[in-house]
């Protein structure tokens, strides 16, 4: 498999009153053609900023990409230095993106049909009528069928799940090779969540596209992804094949996260043993005040003086599994 997206050493800087912080620090990732890579981590760990950096949609005047390179198969040169007009054809053309909040990501004043037609008109130069026809077909393919005249509805007339379907239709209208899904189901009910995941899976199979799936929900990762990368305080701390990371997490943080996940039948067992659900002690450090050395060291039960001294390098565990921990072998 060839790498579709290759991110190397990405470092994104936000200017704050207290000085610059690094929400994304030295992140390297690659997504193969047709595969799903899950990017996992707590709120504020830099997942979404990574996604926005790929598309260069960081808030102006605040965010800036300080270092790194992002290459996309079929595009000459680095996405980070691509001229804005060529970058526009990458956005929505080669890379589609869906956001967390379907309620706020659609313009309330345009019908969903019009909004799905927009990328078609921008990237494929379709006429108004042709784009409208294509939009109805795209909406039908995400489960908003044309016979219900869904294309003519305004976002406020749709439920959350239907809005997310409409967002997916906007992102997929031009058949991107990579879909970035930033917590696409967080704002939805569990039942709708399952439907949206099923839809994404079906569309991925049908269109053969790769997906960068951002979530903090391990159940979805296990369900959908081939590989996963775990982020903590702006850095990737572990990445590898989903099955391997789940069965044998090598970073104490990943290990802790997996242990925190409630499992069926566990409640009974915990209550019987008068135990609480395990948690990771402490909280995520502020990006402005990161400890020296490993960012996770203050919360880590295995931390040694060496951990507090230097940031551990990304160490290869097996062919496709790497971890940023000095004591991974002991886990």
């Amino acid at each position: 498999m060839a790498a579709l997206l290759d991110i190397a050493g990405l470092r994104t800087e936000f200017a704050t009153r207290a000085g610059p912080i690094l929400p994304v620090n030295d992140v390297s990732l690659s997504v193969q053609v047709g595969e799903t890579l899950a990017l996992v981590g707590e709120s504020g760990c830099g997942k979404s900023v990574t996604a926005l950096s790929i598309l260069r949609l960081l808030p102006r005047r605040v965010g800036r990409i300080a270092a790194g390179s992002i290459r996309l198969q079929g595009i000459d040169g680095d996405l980070l230095t691509l001229p804005e007009d060529r970058m526009r054809h990458v956005r929505g053309g080669a890379i589609g993106m869906i956001f967390q909040e379907p309620a706020t990501c659609l313009n309330p004043l345009l019908t969903v049909g019009e909004q799905v037609a927009e990328p078609l008109r921008i990237h494929r130069n379709l006429s108004h009528a042709a784009a409208a026809r294509e939009a109805v077909a795209t909406l039908a393919s995400v489960g908003l069928p044309g016979e219900d005249h869904q294309a003519g509805r305004y976002p406020h007339e749709l439920s959350g799940g239907m809005r997310q379907r409409a967002m997916i239709a906007v992102a997929l209208a031009c058949h991107p090779r990579l879909l970035i899904a930033d917590e696409p189901t967080t704002a939805l009910d569990v039942t709708i969540q399952a439907q949206i995941m099923e839809l994404l899976r079906a569309l991925q199979r049908e269109l053969g596209m790769a997906m960068l799936f951002i979530t903090h929900n391990f159940a979805l990762v296990a369900d959908l992804a081939h590989r996963m990368a775990v982020m903590y305080a702006g850095r990737i701390v572990e990445h590898g094949p989903v099955a391997e990371v789940f069965s044998r997490p090598r970073h104490p943080y990943t290990h802790g996260l997996l242990a925190c996940m409630p499992r069926l039948g566990q409640a009974h067992r915990l209550r019987a043993g008068n135990q609480a659900l395990p948690t990771i002690a402490g909280s995520v450090p502020r990006l402005g005040a990161l400890p020296a050395g490993c960012s996770f060291a203050p919360r880590c039960t295995l931390a040694t003086d060496a951990c507090r001294h230097d940031t551990p390098p990304l160490t290869t565990v097996s062919a496709d599994h790497a971890v940023r921990c000095l004591r991974w072998a002991e886990l």
């Binding site: 949609l57 990458v90 956005r91 007339e157 439920s159 439907q195």
Partner: protein, 290 residues
């Protein structure tokens, strides 16, 4: 999937409903139509000629032949009020269109164009706002000269800054909204953001500005013409008809000659202002809550 569809009308349809339910605004609309229809269509009536001279009736008071009397050279005042209204409204509505275009573009460039464009556009706006309007009006008018086109230019150059600020404020907020970021994420460029997202989301501002500014522009035109800087005679405009009242003879003895355009101006202003207030209430999304 449960079709949890809330059946509510398009936002503009809701606003139209609120407008129709406002008696003052509807009265304004009816009054404006009552003025507009004869002003627009008087040319189709036989025997109404604003420049025809009836030498048998100089300064004649209102009677059956001349419903609003005649002026000093025997021209029918009613015909001239209608013609003057036509010119006033053409000038005012063109000026509003031009100033809306300038105001929206400057506001949009300021909000969407980056720090430098923002600074440049807003300092220009500040500059345009600090100049005293009457003096600027007179200077511009004396440079641009008389006639319809210069008058339109002068009025529109005066009125855009307010709109530019309103539009900028709205777009600064809109710029950070997720659907605009999403639109950029699917490849929308500056033009796309401006036409598909900025413009529709400024509709309410533009509509209210247009109505209230129309009233302002009619007054400005009348003021300019009154001062002899706007529409030159013999063409009729409400302003240059009012100019006639500068003569004490006309003021005292021939009140129909200045009362008629004055009342027409007053009623039009009132009607437009009622409509403008009604629109700004109707288009305010919070008005249904209060």
């Amino acid at each position: 999937m449960t079709p949890a569809v809330t059946w509510r009308a398009h936002p503009l349809a809701q606003a139209a409903g609120r407008f129709v339910g406002n008696p003052l605004a509807m009265a304004g609309l009816i009054l404006l139509l009552a003025i507009l229809l004869p002003v627009i269509f008087y040319g189709m009536l036989p025997g109404v000629d604003p420049n025809a001279i009836d030498l048998t009736a100089l300064n004649a008071p209102p009677d059956g032949a001349h419903w609003l009397g005649t002026d000093g050279v025997g021209r029918d005042v009613l015909a001239r009020v209608l013609e003057g209204g036509r010119i006033s409204l053409i000038v005012a509505s063109s000026a509003v269109c031009v100033s809306m275009l300038i105001g929206f573009l400057v506001g949009a460039v300021a909000a969407l164009g980056g720090a430098l464009a923002n600074a440049a556009a807003m300092r220009l706006t500040d500059l345009a706002m600090t100049l005293p309007p009457v003096v600027l009006l007179l200077v511009l008018a004396s440079i641009a000269g008389q006639g319809i086109a210069p008058t339109i230019l002068v009025i529109s150059l005066l009125s855009w800054p307010v709109l530019a600020r309103l539009v900028r404020a709205r777009l600064l907020e809109l710029r950070e909204r997720e659907f605009v970021i999403a639109a950029r994420g699917m490849g929308g460029g500056a033009w796309h953001i401006m036409t598909r997202h900025a413009l529709p989301n400024c509709t309410d501002i533009l509509i209210v500005f247009a109505t209230l500014q129309l009233a302002q522009a009619i007054l400005a035109e009348a003021g300019l013409s009154f001062l002899g800087m706007g529409i030159p005679p013999p063409a009729a405009s409400w302003g240059n008809m009012l100019n006639g009242a500068r003569s004490t003879v006309v003021l005292e003895h021939y009140p129909w000659q200045w009362l008629s355009p004055g009342i027409a101006l007053l009623l039009t202003e009132l009607a437009i202002n009622f409509i403008g207030d009604g629109l700004s209430n109707a288009l305010n999304p919070r008005s249904e809550l209060g």
